[in-house]
């Protein structure tokens, strides 16, 4: 029983909620998935992962420069914040809020530090999302609609 993908999935999601990675917005997302949009969650999550990876890449590049364009950094962080809020990636969202504060203070050190934590949290989340998607695919494979 413990080994079924269904149980694994629910355990994983529960864990993600419990650790604060996700908030209720993700539940809302799950509710949005139904027969008319069977892959809604995976689509959104994939989009989020790709988008997030791109933004983090951009941010890394921007912050490496000697003179940092904080407005652009802020715009990117805002975008990442929006995405994570929509997906319910609570931790990433909160770190983004912190990040934006550093942007407004134009503190490069603070930005670099928060970028590191955003990166860690994001990749942590992404790996969990990937596991989650894999499990969902398995479930859908087992119980085709």
């Amino acid at each position: 029983m413990a080994a079924t993908p269904m149980n694994q999935l629910s355990a994983l999601v529960n864990n993600m909620f419990a650790t604060g990675l996700l908030d209720e917005q993700f539940q809302q997302l799950q509710m949005l998935q139904d027969a008319s949009a069977p892959d809604f969650v995976s689509e959104v999550v994939t989009l989020f992962c790709d988008d997030g990876e791109r933004i983090i890449g951009e941010l890394t590049k921007l912050l490496e420069k000697s003179s940092v364009d904080f407005d652009r950094v802020d715009a990117f962080v805002h975008q990442l914040k929006g995405s994570s809020a929509s997906v319910g990636a609570q931790k990433v969202k909160n770190t983004c809020i912190q990040f934006r504060e550093f942007c407004q203070q134009k503190s490069r050190d603070g930005c670099l530090k928060t970028l590191d934590s955003v990166r860690t949290e994001f990749y942590d989340l992404r790996s969990k999302f990937q596991t989650l998607l894999q499990l969902e695919r398995q479930i859908q494979g087992f119980y085709p609609k």
Partner: protein, 1002 residues
């Protein structure tokens, strides 16, 4: 004096008038400032400031003026008091002088009279001598006779100390005369008549004529034989006397007794002369001379003794014939001061006498004048001081006023700052608090021991309290800063009430209380108002009631005011006995007896509802509980913020005490009133009224058709509770009958009449009538297998769950848990009637049926640069059946929304690169206006022939839902805003606002 005072008062009056005019000007100015409200605020503020400044300067000038006036006042009054002093003292002196004059004249006259009397007698003596000495030969008078006669008649001549008679002797007759008399004529020493003794007197040298003394009074016997003509004074006297024929006086000289005296000489003529006789005739006729010595000092002394007040004045008598007056009487110390001179006429025309009178005492101080003038100046100074004090006081008040204005401004600014600070800070605190609460929730799910769990639970409870407190403070701050605006959206009050009941379900069941709602039929199904705020008020009241109630019930009623008015009397009669749970309650009517609405009602008749607009409706909402009640002493401060009944209340029940104050404000905003009636240990009833708008009747969602053909019977021995049940059933469209008496019902059933398909029995009634229940159940069940009525047990939370489950199992009853709500009842009935519950109710955005109905088949465009957000928003809207088009930039949205298009609404992100949501919306609006103008002109493109006006609803999507953003949204002609990610109720509210009105237009 008064004249001057009046003159002084004149300018003061003028000044007052001037001041009044100034005030009037000020008032007028303020009016002008207040009246034209559309005046730009800045401008009016500046005007006010300049005006105040001017006023301040003006008051300085007036103050300076006042000081001068005061000085002038004091100076003038000092002068006036000096005048008074002078006038009054001179008056006193005048009076004194008059008194002196009259006294002096009186004395002079008396002296004169006495003198004249003596003179007359002297004259009589002269005649006597003429008659008896000269006319008889030999003479009848000799020295002895004369002396005796003179002595004996001395009382008639009180003033004369002695008389003597000298006879005229010519030189030719001298020898014969000397021989006759037996002595020779002697000579007097110059003026010293009496000094020489008889021995050493010289014999008179020869002269033309002699006047030797032949008779004299005894005291003056020694002057006999002295020739009067040998002394200068006497000679002159004698000569003048015989010339004038009258008594003649000498100058005063010292008498023997060291007193001053005069000698009066009277001539004796040979024959009686005519009064107009010439002087030489008189000289010829003169035969002798009578002399009398007048003791003036004695005379005056005697006179003065006779008069009262002789001490008060000092009298001096002078002979003023010569240049230098000779004093005849009185001390030589004349002194200075007031003197009155009266002339004395002693009958000698060639001699003049005068009497000088003086007061012995120095004139007394003119105390009256001094006190009067002093009093005047004191009064004047006092008035001046009063004026000064008044002026100072006015100045102080003016200064204070300025200061107060300044302080008031500062206080107002501080108040605004406080409200803003509160609003900002509470907003800022809420965000991290949510994090704290979430974390605590997660912490609770982890593996904790009991103590840790207890700690976490406490922390979470505290956190929740803090958040609700912050929300309340935010509300209060908003209300105070006037930022709280009520919405006006259509809503169903019954649903709101049901929601509130659901909210308190758990608590009520925990405490074993009965909670019920009853909304009168007269309350329209759809009202327009602010459901959130009404919910807040009711929630607050119900929450309070639950907090303070340990047994009994909480009963929420909603009625139309008119309805309450009409059944007021009935209500009072049924108090106490027939409440919801059988416990006594506070008199509900008392809770609103102070409402202005009702007081107006009671005074006027029924027509008073006329002024209320036909569209508006006044609701009266009461929450009745059977709790501990409010102590009488605390009832007055129930609505004061942060005031609780006592410190122990806060400790036991928690809470901030701000809820009721907020409720009162909210009720005020809804043009209603709130009041309460409470009896300690019986319960409280809070009642408030609210004015809402009637919405146009629309289809009733809750009245599902499934229950249309169904009859129900409610068995409950408490009519009020049965009424509540009936109300809920009727909302579902169930035809409902009530029965309070079970036996009656059973007997009625026996008759075979048709009865209801649903029978709802309250558990309390069941227990009460438990003996007849099995029979009833059997009868109902046995009647007809196919159409047997469904039995429901209305579960009262007060009862223990066990016993009821026991009953329900035994008789196979459906249990409906109170509090009753339409939706719950619907589900229970459906389940019982064997229908599948199709509507799967879930909270949140997803599955909100009303949203689904609103958004179904609507063409919606979602604009967001963030593809993840776009996807999620689109997904959410699709869920409600909307057809969603996505646009990832503002520009794309503009091309898509180029009219004519088929979109019903647009959700637009605000923060986007290149073109943000506000800008995009503005451009879209410009395009729409352009098209509308063309439509008006009739240049109708074929695609939009049936459209009159274009305006696509555009809603902003934003992460930060704060006031400023909302205002900016409206400024950029957006229709509203929703939070991102979507939040169910808010999304519904916003969407409902334009889609419903849209539907109605269609």
């Amino acid at each position: 004096m008064t004249g001057t005072a009046r003159g002084r008062r004149g300018p003061a009056g003028m000044e007052e008038k001037g001041e009044a005019a100034g005030l009037g000007f000020l008032g007028l100015d303020r009016m002008r400032l207040l009246l034209p409200l559309p005046l730009p605020e800045k401008l009016s503020a500046r005007t006010l400031r300049t005006h105040l400044y001017n006023h301040y300067l003006g008051s300085r000038k007036v103050r300076e003026q006042r000081r001068w006036l005061l000085l002038l006042w004091v100076v003038i009054w000092s002068l006036i008091s000096c005048c008074i002093l002078f006038l009054m003292s001179s008056q006193a002196v005048e009076k004194r002088r008059e008194a002196l004059a009259s006294m002096c004249d009186e004395r002079a006259r008396m002296l004169q009279d006495q003198f004249n009397v003596s003179m007359n007698h002297l004259q009589a003596l002269a005649i006597l001598i003429s008659t008896f000495h000269h006319s008889k030969n030999p003479s009848a008078i000799d020295q002895l006779t004369f002396a005796r006669y003179a002595e004996r008649t001395a009382f008639e001549r009180p003033l004369t100390s002695g008389v003597a008679y000298a006879v005229r002797v010519t030189h030719a007759e001298r020898e014969q005369f000397e021989r006759e008399q037996g002595w020779s004529i002697k000579k007097m020493y110059s003026s010293k008549k009496q000094s020489p003794g008889p021995g050493d007197a010289e014999v008179r040298e020869p002269a033309a004529e002699y006047a030797p003394v032949i008779f004299a009074q005894d005291a003056y016997k020694h002057v006999i034989s002295f020739d009067l003509l040998s002394g200068n004074d006497d000679r002159e006297n004698v000569l003048r006397a015989r010339e004038s024929g009258k008594g003649v006086l000498t100058a005063p000289f010292e008498l023997l007794n060291n007193r001053l005296g005069v000698i009066s000489t009277y001539t004796v003529y040979e024959s009686e002369l005519p009064p107009n006789a010439r002087p030489h005739e008189r000289i010829q006729a003169a035969i002798g001379y009578l002399g009398g010595i007048f003791d003036i000092e004695a005379l005056v002394d005697k006179l003065l003794h006779q008069l009262a007040g002789k001490q008060s004045i000092m009298v001096n008598v002078y002979d003023t014939t010569k240049e230098s007056p000779i004093s005849m009487y009185g001390s030589s110390d004349t002194g200075s001061g007031m003197c009155h001179v009266s002339t004395l006429n002693f009958g000698d025309p060639s001699r003049r006498h005068a009497m000088h009178c003086r007061f012995i005492q120095k004139p007394p101080w003119p105390w009256l004048a001094i006190t009067s003038s002093f009093g005047t100046i004191v009064i004047a100074l006092l008035i001046g001081y009063i004026f000064h004090a008044t002026v100072k006081r006015i100045a102080k008040v003016e200064d204070d006023y300025q200061e107060m204005m300044e302080l008031k401004k500062r206080a107002e600014a501080a108040d605004i700052a406080k409200s803003q600070f509160l609003a900002t800070v509470s907003h800022e605190i809420r965000t991290p608090m949510n994090g704290v609460l979430g974390m605590l929730q997660m912490l609770m799910d982890t593996d904790l021991d009991t103590t840790q769990q207890d700690y976490v639970r406490t922390a979470q409870a505290s956190g929740k309290t803090l958040v609700s407190l912050i929300n309340e403070v935010l509300d209060q701050a908003k209300i105070e800063s006037g930022k709280l605006e009520l919405e006006a959206v259509p809503f169903d009050l019954r649903t709101v009430c049901d929601d509130i009941l659901s909210l308190f379900c758990g608590k009520v069941q925990e405490k074993g209380l009965e909670l019920a709602v009853y909304v009168s039929d007269q309350v329209p199904h759809t009202l327009i108002g602010d459901p959130g705020r009404i919910r807040q008020i009711i929630t607050n009241l119900v929450g309070n009631s639950i907090k303070f109630t340990e047994r009994g019930h909480i009963y929420l009623t909603v009625q139309v005011v008119e309805e309450v008015m009409s059944c007021l009397e009935v209500e009072t009669a049924t108090q106490y006995t027939k409440t919801l749970s059988g416990y006594p309650v506070a008199n509900r009517r008392r809770s609103w007896e102070n409402f202005r609405l009702f007081n107006r009602e009671l005074h006027s008749s029924d027509v008073s509802f006329a002024p209320i607009a036909s569209d508006s409706i006044s609701l009266i909402i009461s929450v009745e509980d059977t709790g501990v009640g409010i102590p009488f002493e605390a009832q007055s401060r129930v609505f004061t913020p942060f005031m609780q009944v006592g410190p122990s209340i806060a400790r036991i029940h928690g809470g901030t005490g701000i809820g009721l104050s907020i409720s009162k404000c909210l009720v005020g905003l809804m043009k209603g009133e709130i009041g309460f009636a409470s009896k300690p240990h019986v319960g409280s009833t809070f009642t408030f009224t609210a004015v809402l708008m009637r919405a146009r009747p629309s289809s009733n969602e809750n009245k599902s058709l499934d229950f249309k053909e169904i009859n129900a019977l409610v068995v409950d021995h408490r009519p009020l509770r049965a009424k509540v049940t009936k109300y809920h059933l009727q909302r579902l469209g169930v035809k409902t009958e009530l029965t309070t008496d079970l036996d009656q019902f059973v007997s009625k059933m026996n008759c075979g009449s048709r009865f209801a398909k649903l029978v709802l029995i309250d558990r309390e009634t069941w227990l009460k009538e438990s003996h007849s229940m099995p029979l009833l159940v059997r009868k109902l069940r046995n009647k007809d297998q196919t159409d047997s009525p469904k039995l429901f047990l209305l579960e009262n939370p007060t009862s223990s769950v066990k016993s009821s489950s026991h009953i329900s199992r035994e008789y196979n009853l459906n249990v409906i848990m109170k509090p009753l709500r339409a939706s719950m009842l619907q589900v229970s009935l459906r389940r019982a009637l064997g229908e599948v519950d199709k509507v799967h109710c879930r909270n949140g955005v997803v599955g909100n049926p009303t949203l689904g109905s609103l958004l179904h088949k609507k063409q919606i465009i979602v604009v967001d640069d963030n593809i993840v957000n776009l996807k999620v928003a689109a997904g959410a809207l699709k869920k409600y059946g909307a057809e969603v088009t996505c646009a990832d930039s503002g520009k794309k949205a503009i091309t898509l929304l180029k009219a004519p298009h088929s979109f019903d609404a647009c959700f637009m992100d605000i923060q986007m690169p290149e073109m943000d949501g506000f800008e995009a919306t503005k451009r879209i609006r410009v395009m729409e206006r352009d098209l509308n103008e063309r439509l008006e002109r009739g240049e109708v493109p074929p695609e939009c022939a049936n459209v009159r006006q274009w305006r696509t609803p555009i809603l902003a999507m934003t992460a930060d839902v704060i006031q400023a953003t909302h205002e900016q949204c409206l400024k950029s002609e957006m229709d509203g805003y929703v939070s991102k990610p979507f939040e169910g109720e808010q999304l519904y509210r916003e969407v409902a606002r334009f889609f419903q009105s849209h539907d109605q237009v269609q």
